[in-house]
């Protein structure tokens, strides 16, 4: 990693040059392959991102050299593993600019983070007639946990509507907030439309009415510099696998006073101070929420992923991805018969589109035959599909290791789709 940061000198660089990207691509072994006889073009980054060798090697090095269980033994390996594990907590804290490392809880991913807040925070506080406010562009993982709670407690799930451009209608949002609102749960970036929501403003508005806000950062953190203190959100959840890290690991950030007031979600080892058959005393935060042996190697991999992204620079990544998105939008929009869904002012890395007379699934198959991996479907956001009156869309989503040449291949691919169905 040192090598890369020296070469790229993040402080001085505003975006990535094509030479930078060429060097970055060398770090991703998977990108070198051919699919269906063509060079792989990986445009399914919103579903999950690919892994640089720095992450892959960190995980295998950990297993080969330092692996042991954590927090449990006095032996050297356990101490090393514990140290490495807790060092990543600090890394995540700094990465999202949290005030303290105990505000970072390791979880399996965004989904588990959202569910932890639903059970540990909201469930004991929610009463019949209360309301939970989500947006119309949420991923199912930021809808279903709340819906389940509402069902159990006879509470009401309310929805902030979205405009034709795919932006949240803030006047409606303000109107929907009321004294019965117990939580706002909103995504930072929409995985189906690419919209970047004005989180800071939304938090400010909610806080005026003393309503806490959970931000689903699954799609935000891979593209934007995140500062949870500046956003002032109460909870922030994300998945490591969309951030060039391994699957099975993510984090929940929660303000310390809120986490302190939360009950544990799962019981077991590591989350206790003492156990007798009469009584268990729970551990302090964040350990209270980390029952059982965690995905230790996953945490190590997540740490390596954060190091890797920081060695390139989140600002540079963001600036370069904006260029890619602008180029792709311009080129794809030019193809007659193509409709782009999600035309918000502020967008990140997602191009959702439909082609007249062609089902997205067929677009996906044809592009795959050309080596281009996109997603076709509802993107786990069925309400968004309903809002725009389509059964599904085709979605190309970009990462900093993608290139304009790959976007040209996509454009040619879409033209080929039209030929087949011509």
């Amino acid at each position: 990693m040192k090598g890369l940061s020296e070469v790229l000198a993040p402080e001085t660089r505003k975006t990535l040059s094509s030479a930078d990207v060429a060097r970055i691509r060398e770090d991703f072994p998977i990108l070198k392959q051919q699919v269906c006889g063509r060079p792989l073009v990986y445009f399914d980054n919103a579903a999950t991102s690919q892994k640089p060798r720095q992450v892959i090697e960190a995980i295998s090095r950990f297993y080969a050299e330092d692996y042991s269980n954590i927090h449990r033994a006095v032996h050297t390996l356990s101490q090393r593993a514990t140290q490495a594990f807790e060092a990543v907590r600090v890394k995540v804290q700094r990465f999202v600019h949290a005030a303290e490392d105990r505000e970072i809880v390791f979880v399996r991913g965004t989904t588990e983070g959202n569910n932890l807040v639903a059970h540990g925070y909201l469930r004991p506080r929610l009463q019949a007639g209360d309301e939970i406010l989500v947006s119309g562009m949420e991923h199912h993982s930021n809808i279903v946990p709340w819906q389940m709670l509402c069902g159990e407690k006879n509470a009401r799930l309310r929805v902030i509507p979205i405009s034709d451009d795919g932006e949240l209608i803030l006047e409606e949002y303000e109107r929907l907030l009321n004294p019965r609102t117990r939580l706002v749960a909103v995504t930072q970036v929409s995985n189906a439309l690419g919209t970047i929501n004005p989180i800071r403003r939304m938090v400010e508005i909610a806080h005026r009415q003393r309503v806490p806000v959970l931000v689903d950062g699954a799609q935000g953190i891979p593209h934007l510099a995140v500062d949870v203190q500046a956003l002032d959100c109460d909870f922030y959840t994300f998945s490591g696998h969309k951030l060039c890290g391994p699957t099975g690991i993510g984090a929940l950030y929660g303000k310390a006073n809120l986490l302190e007031a939360m009950s544990p979600f799962q019981g077991g080892g590591d989350m206790i101070v003492s156990v007798t058959f009469e009584k268990t005393t729970y551990n302090k935060i964040p350990h209270r929420f980390e029952a059982g042996t965690p995905d230790i190697a996953g945490v190590i991999g997540l740490g390596a992923a954060i190091d890797y992204l920081q060695s390139i620079g989140i600002e540079a990544i963001n600036a370069y991805e904006e260029e890619l998105l602008a180029y792709a939008t311009q080129e794809v929009a030019r193809i007659p018969g193509v409709r782009i869904l999600g035309t918000a002012q502020a967008k990140a890395s997602v191009l959702s589109f439909t082609v007249d007379g062609v089902h997205p699934h067929d677009i996906g198959t044809i592009l795959d035959q050309l080596g281009i991996a996109i997603r076709a479907g509802h993107h786990c956001a069925q309400p968004v599909m309903d809002r725009f009156n389509v059964p599904a869309t085709a979605r190309a989503s970009f990462a900093f290791y993608n290139t304009k040449e790959e976007i040209d291949a996509l454009v040619q691919g879409i033209r080929r789709v039209m030929e087949v169905f011509g």
Partner: protein, 151 residues
């Protein structure tokens, strides 16, 4: 690269663009809904079955090229067939899409023009698209109340 034309044959594209027997069947005595959650395909199959014979078959819904063409051609091929014949036809069709390359499909000639779907075999994730209408037809015959899902 498996040729796209093997999958998207002219006949399939023709049925996609101009589906036959499309729309509700007023006097249907069997019907069922089918759903492929993976791609959002939804369709309804309507049948008029009397004395064990399919008198009429129609379908409605939206789906990808493969599922639409398959539904369209299915309605054509099962009309006039007995229940048992329609079910056997589905078995052959399913075999054609899923059997290993070196295994010959029994009585393949019964499939008639449905053989245009043989290319789907090269695209395993699309087999569900081709069979959705057939599964739904089966359910309709059995008067199953629950919607059919490919999952």
């Amino acid at each position: 690269m498996s040729d796209l034309r093997d999958l998207y044959q002219e006949l399939i594209l023709d049925h996609t663009k101009h589906p036959r027997n499309f729309g509700a069947l007023e006097n249907a005595n069997c019907r069922a809904d089918g759903h492929n959650p993976l791609c959002g395909d939804k369709l309804t199959v309507f049948l008029d079955v009397s004395n064990g014979v399919v008198k009429d078959a129609r379908f409605q819904g939206s789906g990808c090229a493969i599922s639409t063409a398959s539904a369209s051609m299915m309605t054509e091929s099962i009309k006039g067939k007995t229940r048992a014949e329609a079910e056997t036809l589905f078995e052959r069709f399913h075999q054609m899409l899923t059997s290993p390359p070196d295994v010959e499909v029994q009585d393949a000639e019964e499939l008639g023009k449905l053989v245009v779907f043989s290319g789907v075999k090269e695209f395993p994730v699309r087999v569900k698209c081709a069979t959705l209408a057939w599964h739904t037809m089966n359910a309709a015959m059995r008067h199953e109340a629950e919607p059919v899902s490919t999952e």
